[in-house]
């Protein structure tokens, strides 16, 4: 028998604490669309996506209605497009971006991720031309997300790619400067990119994945914050960790149910549940506020890294038991412009990029959705990417950089993207010149996996 208090708790989580399924993402392999003629390949890409994902949006909406759980985004992740470009090296890869955009409009999804290249050990045919086309692709499309994996624990860090990506990030912002540089908000540079991540902008369909798969990303920072708020002031950190675990369990069970239903109705195998705390700019849906509820006066103060480490770990411990397959990024996201508490902390100066970098060593992703001054040099952006990739490489975790150079703006001014991407202040960056290091190029060797101190 279902108990009244359980029903009321669920209703309250959904109605007042912003509990939702953040995304139902269909992964589609495009390996069989490879063709030496890019026009033929683009048609195959469009046909395959629209055939496989035809029912994705209506099915997700049906599940949303029956279970009474909001499913915020319906997305698609595809095979890294650079792999398709390899077969037609003399053609302009942007034709694939147009095909993806057309397919996204046809099936009604919010985003398609996978305008990507994996270059952690070097550039294969197609990788370089795809990377060069990213600024135009981000400027000329609205639903495409791009990612480039430039490092891994097994391969080291491709510093040639790091150098290139500093330039590409800046160009992407330049080409969309009339729209608050939004192009750069759809581009992420990764180290140790997961192949089954359902979240944007880093989602792509890895080569080891099946032909088609359903991955689900849950959310719920508001629910965790509310649970901690109910704890007495004298609750120990153990008690708080236990509360987070219990809450993460419930959230993930909901994600598992939605994933199973979607998988059954679409006749597509269930991949993973990504149990991430993904904030939105809405009040009460903030990861920063969870840290503040734990006892910090403001996110960014001393103690922030410790609180975030505990939160990240407790979310995983609670979620792992609730789902048959956990994967993706799984943990706590700390995007600045997408999180009301982070925005406030950045505005007040309590949260700095240096502190965010420390936080990325214990959170699930990296430097995410950070506005930086428009005059920041490409070399400094590359060096930020290299620092972040080094944290990921050494600690065997995913790290990422999604910074938005605010063209024509200085620290303290603001960018507004709207929707889930939010908006926020331009943050100060250390501009001391790392050019000589960045221009050396080459590859940082893969790290030793023992003698861990």
């Amino acid at each position: 028998m279902i108990e009244t208090k359980d029903i009321l708790e669920t209703i309250q989580m959904i109605q007042d604490e912003h509990l939702d399924i953040r995304t139902t993402t269909m992964g589609i392999s495009l390996i069989d669309c490879i063709d030496a003629d890019i026009n033929k390949a683009a048609v195959k890409v469009y046909d395959k996506i629209t055939a496989y994902a035809e029912k994705l949006v209506p099915t997700a909406e049906q599940i949303e209605k029956e279970l009474g759980i909001p499913i915020i985004n319906k997305r698609i992740a595809v095979t890294p497009i650079a792999m398709l470009c390899g077969a037609c090296p003399s053609s302009d890869p942007i034709k694939f971006a147009y095909a993806l955009e057309k397919a996204a409009n046809e099936v009604g999804v919010n985003f398609i991720g996978g305008y990507s290249a994996l270059v952690q050990k070097g550039f294969a045919n197609g990788d370089y031309s795809l990377i060069e086309s990213i600024p135009r692709a981000m400027a000329e499309t609205n639903h495409i997300c791009s990612s480039v994996n430039i490092g891994s624990t097994k391969a080291g860090i491709n510093m040639d790619a790091v150098k290139k990506m500093g330039v590409i990030v800046k160009q992407t912002a330049e080409l969309t400067k009339d729209r608050d540089c939004i192009g750069a908000a759809k581009l992420v540079v990764l180290c140790n990119a997961p192949e089954d991540n359902p979240f944007m902008a880093g989602a792509f369909h890895g080569v080891g994945e099946p032909d088609c798969v359903i991955n689900v990303g849950v959310s719920g920072p508001g629910v965790v914050r509310a649970a901690i708020a109910k704890a007495p002031d004298n609750a120990t950190v153990n008690d708080i960790a236990d509360l987070i675990r219990r809450t993460a369990f419930k959230i993930t069970r909901m994600g598992q149910l939605v994933a199973q239903e979607a998988s059954k109705r679409l006749c597509v195998p269930f991949g993973i549940v990504d149990l991430s705390l993904a904030p939105t700019p809405a009040v009460g849906d903030s990861v920063a506020h969870i840290l503040e509820e734990m006892g910090l006066s403001q996110c960014g103060s001393a103690g922030t890294t410790a609180c975030l480490a505990m939160l990240n770990d407790a979310v995983k411990k609670g979620g792992v038991m609730a789902s048959s397959h956990v994967g993706g990024l799984s943990g706590a996201f700390i995007p600045v412009t997408e999180d009301a508490g982070m925005i406030d902390a950045a505005r007040s100066g309590c949260l700095t990029i240096e502190k965010l970098e420390a936080m990325t060593s214990v959170c699930s992703v990296g430097l995410d959705m950070i506005n930086i001054p428009g005059d920041t040099s490409a070399e400094v952006i590359s060096a930020i990417i290299a620092d972040e990739a080094a944290i990921g490489m050494i600690n065997s975790k995913t790290t990422a950089v999604r910074v938005i150079p605010a063209i024509g703006k200085k620290a303290g001014e603001e960018l507004q993207f709207g929707g889930l991407l939010g908006g926020g202040p331009v943050m100060k960056v250390n501009t001391a010149d790392p050019s000589k290091f960045i221009h050396r190029g080459g590859r940082i060797p893969a790290p030793i996996q023992s003698l861990k101190n």
Binding site: I2, I7, E9, T10, Q15, K65, G68, I69, M254, L257
Partner: protein
């Protein structure tokens, strides 16, 4: 299949009658009703059997939502699976 109907808001005369008439008109049998007060708000929970529902489930959800809107209340219909999966191992 069973559904859970929750009515949350300011108590109004005849709301139980309206919701139960709505259920009957769709061939939905009410198996249990409880009432409680949640943060000063009236809260009624009905467990229903929807196996003989005479319209698509989505339409039933929309109509319930409309009854809620017309009466200044929140009326939600949710499949029981969501509660079982969140609160049972």
């Amino acid at each position: 299949m069973r559904a859970v109907i929750t009515v949350v808001g300011k108590d109004t005369v005849g709301i139980l009658a309206k919701v139960s008439t709505f259920c009957a008109s769709h061939n939905v049998s009410i198996t249990d009703v409880t009432q409680t007060v949640l943060q000063d708000m009236f809260c009624m929970i009905m467990i229903c059997d929807t196996k003989d529902l005479n319209c698509p489930f989505g339409e039933f959800v929309d109509e319930a939502d409309k009854i809620g809107a017309d009466n200044g209340l929140s009326v939600r219909v949710m499949h029981e699976d969501i509660f079982n999966s969140m609160h049972r191992i």
